[in-house]
């Protein structure tokens, strides 16, 4: 807002060459004083949910009101998700890099008066390390950020994603200009091959090899060829792609344009999940801005190369993240997958050669072209190069989005960056790979987090979800959750998936109700094999993974459900009862008033009791008890 004004006044101009872009960037930079104070407010989906907009409005209003004694009026910048949503709304004061968390509109006056005017730190708003109890002032010293290696996420949290100039100043479109002026399309493909980049959408297929096969398909069938961004992010519990699309839409766009140049595509598609309205909005703005500046559309940077792109909103079907289903969806039809022998690079959209890559994959391309495949492949480990973004959620102190080099031990991510499980106990398991992945137990905490090691451990990288589980999470319940999810999302076209998943889920229902038998475990395993072999697409064939890994690593928990009729984690409703600890209860009556079926009795200031026969186990009493007196046994 403050720092872009002078550049914006000149209105959109078409950039005609690499030289033009460089000059334009230098001109923008000249208008910026790096020491000028700036208040950065996170406007990612998470911080907006916790009130980020009210905070930025309050800052604007305070600055607009007269009487500020600051020598220089700070600028305000709103950014995409900075990854630490659990601490939102986040406010950063630059250039010092002071990090304030859980900021409320009522804190704003003090931030301006104390921190901006007098340079004082407000202790109350600082992040407190849950492990050491220490308060930390600067963003880069917070363990959550300190141990990350933010490459793809580098600009996110620094730039205003709705401002092309911000992106250009951060190096945006540099790689594109370089490729269009100094590289042949073949060289771009070679650089991607050299980098070793593997697809970030789940399967980890080498991107360069995919592009090469597309070129071979083009030799046979001719053009058109299409390039497509998979922004469906179907894994329910992951938000890497959302963050990238929302926070640095130009990076995705630039990657896609580079791919289009490499393959000679003139048309591309962004397939974005409809549940991500902000991502759709920011991508739309980015496309308009890029077009207005000659970075997208006809004759890009005056190179003679033309390419344009369209956004398709998903419509709430998980299977549409699968390549062939995604194509039929773009074609306007129900998203039914095609059999596996159809290779989508040869026969993709409208039967044409098509390259589909994940959002994060595309966002890596500008880095590779800018710095070189050789540079890139030095990051990470030999068969999994580069970094990977993970969404670290569940029972962990620092919940959020993290980017690390491939190959880091799992425990580093969960314990160093994530700060471990609240309360300090070891984690029980980490679920990776979403509905197609598996659970890695604490005993394998040193597993390297790369494509191959995770597969070896029986799980998979998937798109990068990492769900930390502790003793209060039940693995049987989680396996049942994923199966039910996939059962609902199965398109129903093939038998093994349609009936097999339902049958497996019924068996797991039995476990969660204490009706399981030993033979059921064997049935689960044999059904799994049948589905793995027989399903039409990877939705079905990978669906048994959560069940198989939990049986492999947590068989005793299955056995407890069937032999002892007990859910050790206290999750499966049929196997638990709610009780009030008379020692801890002080008779405040809060639970009795809130119980929806009125099954809690007891006089004022006397210990209450729950009538087990009437209790529907809704958990409202536990949620409302301030003295932690409600126990699950």
């Amino acid at each position: 807002m403050h720092n872009q004004s002078s550049a914006l006044q000149q209105g959109p101009c078409r950039l005609e060459s690499l030289d033009d872009l460089n000059k334009f960037r230098e001109q923008l930079e000249r208008n910026i004083d790096p020491d000028h104070p700036e208040i950065v407010v996170c406007h990612g989906t998470g911080c907006l949910a916790s009130g980020g907009e009210a905070v930025s409005n309050a800052i604007q209003a305070t600055l607009d009101a007269s009487g500020i004694k600051a020598k220089v009026i700070p600028g305000i910048k709103t950014t995409g998700c900075q990854g630490f949503c659990s601490r939102g709304p986040l406010v950063l004061i630059r250039p010092q890099g002071i990090f304030y968390q859980r900021v409320k509109p009522k804190d704003v006056g003090e931030i301006i008066e104390k921190t901006i005017v007098q340079g004082e730190i407000i202790n109350r708003l600082l992040y407190k390390d849950p492990q050491t109890g220490e308060k930390i002032i600067h963003e880069e010293e917070i363990p959550f950020y300190k141990y990350q290696d933010r490459k793809v996420l580098h600009n996110i949290g620094k730039i205003d994603p709705t401002n092309l100039y911000d992106s250009i100043m951060a190096g945006g479109y540099q790689a594109l200009a370089k490729a269009l002026t100094t590289m042949t399309p073949e060289q771009v493909v070679q650089e991607v091959e050299l980098s070793g980049l593997r697809g970030r959408g789940g399967a980890g297929f080498p991107a360069g090899r995919k592009w090469r096969s597309a070129l071979l398909a083009i030799e046979k069938k001719g053009r058109p060829v299409y390039v497509v961004v998979n922004g469906d992010e179907g894994d329910p519990g992951a938000f890497m792609d959302r963050t990238i699309m929302e926070g640095d839409p130009h990076a995705v766009l630039e990657g896609l344009i580079l791919g289009a140049y490499a393959l000679g595509a003139t048309e591309g598609f962004l397939y974005v999940r409809a549940e991500y309205p902000l991502a759709i909005k920011h991508l739309g703005i980015a496309m308009e801005q890029a077009r207005a500046h000659g970075l997208l559309g006809k004759n890009i940077l005056n190179s003679g190369f033309s390419f344009d792109v369209r956004i398709n909103r998903g419509a709430g079907a998980f299977v549409c993240g699968e390549s062939t289903a995604l194509f039929t969806s773009i074609e306007g039809k129900p998203g039914n997958p095609k059999p596996k022998y159809v290779r989508s690079v040869e026969e993709g959209l409208w039967g044409r050669p098509t390259v589909l890559n994940n959002v994060e994959t595309w966002a890596n391309i500008p880095l590779i072209i800018d710095k070189g495949g050789d540079w890139y492949k030095k990051i990470g480990v030999s068969h999994s190069t580069g970094t990977k973004v993970f969404s670290l959620v569940g029972k962990v102190n620092n919940v959020g989005l993290v980017e690390v080099p491939m190959g880091l031990p799992l425990s580093d991510i969960v314990e160093k960056i994530g700060g471990g499980v609240p309360g300090g106990a070891p984690f029980k398991a980490v679920q990776t790979g979403g509905p197609s992945g598996g659970c890695i137990p604490y005993s394998l905490k040193d597993t390297a987090v790369d494509f191959d090691s995770l597969t070896e451990a029986g799980s998979m990288m998937g798109s990068g979800a990492m769900i930390v589980m502790d003793d209060t999470d039940c693995v049987v319940d989680l396996a049942r959750y994923f199966l039910r999810f996939l059962e609902e999302e199965s398109c129903g076209k093939c038998m093994p998936c349609r009936f097999g998943l339902s049958r497996m889920r019924e068996i797991l229902d039995g476990f969660s109700e204490g009706r399981g038998t030993q033979a059921d475990i064997d049935d689960l395993i044999s059904l799994s094999k049948a589905i793995q072999d027989g399903a039409l697409c990877a939705l079905g064939s990978s669906a048994p993974n959560p069940v198989l890994t939990t049986i492999r690593y947590f068989k005793e928990e299955y056995l407890a459900h069937l032999e002892d009729q007990n859910c050790p984690a206290g999750v499966c409703k049929a196997l638990i009862t709610f009780q009030i600890d008379p020692e801890a209860c002080n008779g405040c009556t809060s639970c009795a008033r809130k119980c929806p079926v009125g099954c809690i009795s007891g006089g004022k200031k006397e210990p209450h009791t729950i009538s087990a026969d009437e209790c529907i186990k809704c958990g409202i009493c536990k949620e409302s008890c301030k003295f932690d007196a409600v126990r699950i046994i």
């Binding site: 894994d235 549940e275 969404s391 959620v393 959020g400 999470d473 999810f485």
Partner: protein, 165 residues
């Protein structure tokens, strides 16, 4: 021609008459009208040259399309993995009991529609519920009941505020 047909006409003008634009057009219609009526479906199918039966096959395949009018307010509870582990299902059960409807249904007074969603991408602040367009972090039954009372008050203010309404 009704006003809603006119609005749909305007939306159709933005899409070339080809089958590939059916989904986008239906999404725009739903954004504007809250659901896709039989009449709207007829217009969309004619415009994009997709037979009506196939247009219905598309609309019923994708979860986000609604064929019945929704209530005045929508409460959407996330049942993604992170929200599931943090009690999302309990919220759905609680709301279901409170409103006496199942997920996907609308209350008789057309005030609330209860629905579920598989992750809105705010997993770090689970469990998440979205009331109308507003996201609620760390949702609990108590917070949601408060929010419901607030939107009911807003609606009645609106009705009372309009003369002769």
């Amino acid at each position: 021609m009704t006003t809603s047909d006119q609005h749909i006409d305007e939306l159709m003008d933005q899409y070339p008459p080809k089958p590939e634009y059916l989904i986008g057009l239906l999404q725009d219609i739903q954004d504007q009208q809250g659901y896709i009526s039989y009449g709207a479906m007829l217009l969309a199918s004619e415009h994009t040259k997709v037979p009506l039966s196939q247009a219905y096959s598309v609309a019923t395949f994708y979860q986000s399309f609604r064929l019945d009018p929704p209530g005045e307010h929508e409460i959407k509870v996330c049942l993604g993995t992170a929200c599931h582990l943090n009690g999302g299902q309990q919220l759905v059960d609680g709301l279901s009991r409170k409103l006496q409807i199942e997920p996907g249904e609308t209350t008789d007074d057309m005030m609330f529609t209860l629905s579920t969603v598989n992750c809105v991408g705010a997993c770090a602040i689970a469990p998440v519920a979205v009331v109308d367009e507003n996201y609620h972090a760390g949702a609990t039954m108590q917070k949601l009941e408060r929010e419901m009372r607030k939107v009911i008050d807003l609606s009645s203010d609106k009705i009372m505020g309009e003369p002769n309404a």
